[in-house]
Subunit: 404 residues, 2 copies
């Protein structure tokens, strides 16, 4: 008789963004006359850069001709893309990462969910609280998180690192020693960052404890301040303790195109085994590569035209971030983030819970945000707004909120 | 201290096709003047159908304009694609599968590797022997396969169902009762099929034992004979015991485009839990959808033009299959498959092992095939050739082999 994976049943409710989608769809169906503005899920709204479009067309044409048709991609991804990544995202920043330490994938969400597979079940993970839910959820599904403690809204075997107003929404090194540490800077959902010297402390700590840091750099394109690192490999010794995840979703607008990559330095060894070799095995056994046309689109991002167009796109969203940040501040909200990140993190007014404020915004002014409690227990009483809307919608949403 | 997943270390050697790639690349590097013909990995060689190309271009153009730009896809996949699948692959065949029982993905390889996650670790799996290596390998990685028994070339906790010349390369119901049964028809690598009434026995058995069948239908487009089912849901009661995996790789040539889907009927329940809900949770938590442009390409496959073009593509490869089958037969080889499948399964001559014959073919006539032993212990002494080459290459390869 088939037995199911009962760890799945420990997950409370639906995946956060599925739940938000459901609530919004129900409200929209009951109120077809309302114009709902979505600043909830971190989905982009602006079209793909022109250079990406032209490269997609070129690649599609190649697939139409026998001589240039491409079947299965190489295991790690096409070399033209991995070389461009190594050159632009790493070597240009002084990080010694080579193309064969890069694994091209269909996005950072899959990689951040799947990466835990290469580790034993009895590792203890540490996560920022609040944080992007996939890190905890994927570990729950793998039986690594213990049991859900209803009244605390957390899992018994996970080390939560509170990121609160008092700490500038940055985590502090926990008193219990974790085996795997998830860090995400610029942070989703708080928009917080750490400086290079602060991140160096985490790298040193991980090396000392022989822990592994899984560093999610999905939002690095939004970094504006000089002392905020774009990659964990800017820290000395990170190549013996850190895996880094990257996305093309938020810089080049690939949420619906699907492309990302994961870096595992060959020097990263635990229990005498190369983590690169383990991930390579997973990649070749359970994955079959990102589409050729999409990898070509990714390479376009690193061309001169592509870089300029991506910069313009990021600037566009950062204008929204500034508008949200200033608008809410002026209206008396307590806000943070939005400087090196496309996310604005605000304290809910009048002691409303995160979901109460969600319902309040949805029903009063038809604006969708994300309840902070969906990102962890210390997200309760907070709310995330994204800068990924259009200018017009963002302005209208903030104007609606401040005049509530 | 981080502990690695030691189940990964139980996997012998590399993933089969990575190993073949390595051997071929080494030979090619040492013999740059030789023209190597690859009939090894099941990768297609002909360009995408014209209707797929035109839909890809249209979809790319939509991504260039704000009004038609698409971000994250719906969790299960776009409705236009799921509706086309339900209508054409199921309802047209009398199978009562609805669009919301279909999960669109980036291919059957990922799904066949990931599907085991929704089951407990202490399930016992049964596989055809020989068979596509992902089923066993992904279960090894999850700790479900026991230990590798070197001299037998098999895992201690896996039920192998020998598919031999004596059984027409079809499996027989095993004496030990499995919890999860992997079936793949038309079979990779043997090209064998079962009739509808034979498959009905497996469905009845699974329902009786409350087991689950994972049915890989990746090659269904190659079925020519009337009494061979295209879907397991053609059998009564399959909706309470079977999950079905589909690919666009081998019908429409999407090996480098990446699209597939998995069907989990809502009636399929084990231990009181809907497997559909478990897979939906995995899909939303650890996956982010196939690219919009690729889903549009998939929908093109179901258009009238698309259907005709896909049929022509399949016919093209089946001409190759016939040429290989007849050519090898005439030369005295013992061959099977190739009638309802793009794979030809041959007995190695002169008692050579599978890898000996691999080396023999590669070095003597520069033809690449796949060693049968890579698909399981009962594949030893056999060899797989694929019909996915060009006509010219296929003819040349067979002519080289028969004149060896």
């Amino acid at each position: 008789m088939t037995k199911i994976n009962k760890d799945y049943l420990k997950l409370p409710g639906s995946y956060l963004f599925s739940m938000i989608g459901k609530k919004v769809n129900e409200y929209a169906a009951a109120n077809p006359d309302k114009k709902i503005i979505r600043l909830g899920i971190g989905d982009v709204t602006q079209p793909l850069p022109a250079k990406v479009i032209s490269q997609l067309h070129e690649a599609v044409d190649e697939m139409a001709v026998k001589e240039t048709f491409k079947g299965y991609a190489p295991d790690l991804g096409y070399e033209f893309l991995r070389t461009a990544i190594a050159e632009n995202d790493y070597r240009a920043r002084g990080c010694d990462i080579s193309p064969d330490e890069i694994f091209v994938s269909d996005g950072a969400k899959c990689d951040s969910g799947n990466i835990q597979e290469i580790f034993a079940t009895d590792n203890r993970i540490a996560v920022c609280d609040p944080v992007y839910p996939v890190y905890v959820d994927s570990n729950v599904m793998a039986g690594r998180a213990g049991d859900y403690i209803e009244d605390k809204g957390c899992f018994s075997n996970v080390i939560y690192m509170p990121c609160t107003a008092e700490t500038g929404f940055a985590p502090e090194i926990p008193s219990e020693v974790p085996d795997i540490i998830y860090l995400c800077f610029p942070n989703n959902p708080t928009g917080a960052t750490v400086t290079r010297s602060e991140l160096q402390k985490w790298v040193d700590y991980a090396n000392e404890k022989e822990a592994v840091i899984i560093y999610d750099a999905a939002y690095e394109a939004y970094i504006r301040q000089e002392d905020v690192p774009h990659s964990i490999y800017e820290c000395a010794g990170a190549d013996t303790c850190a895996i880094e995840l990257h996305s093309f979703s938020k810089n080049a607008g690939f949420t619906g195109v699907r492309l990302g990559y994961t870096v595992i330095p060959k020097k990263l060894v635990r229990e005498g085994v190369s983590l690169h070799s383990l991930w390579a095995r997973r990649h070749s056994t359970k994955y079959n590569g990102a589409p050729y046309i999409v990898q070509r689109a990714g390479a376009a991002v690193y061309s001169e035209e592509g870089k300029a167009q991506v910069k313009a796109l990021v600037d566009y969203y950062m204008e929204n971030a500034t508008y949200i940040l200033n608008g809410l501040k002026k209206a008396g909200y307590t806000v943070s983030g939005g400087v090196n990140a496309p996310y604005i993190w605000l304290k809910t007014p009048d002691n409303m819970t995160s979901w109460e404020f969600f319902d309040h915004l949805l029903t009063k002014v038809n604006v969708v945000g994300t309840p902070g409690s969906g990102f962890g227990p210390h997200g309760e009483g907070y709310f995330r707004l994204t800068a990924f809307g259009s200018h017009e919608n963002t302005v209208e949403a903030i104007d609606r909120i401040v005049s509530m």
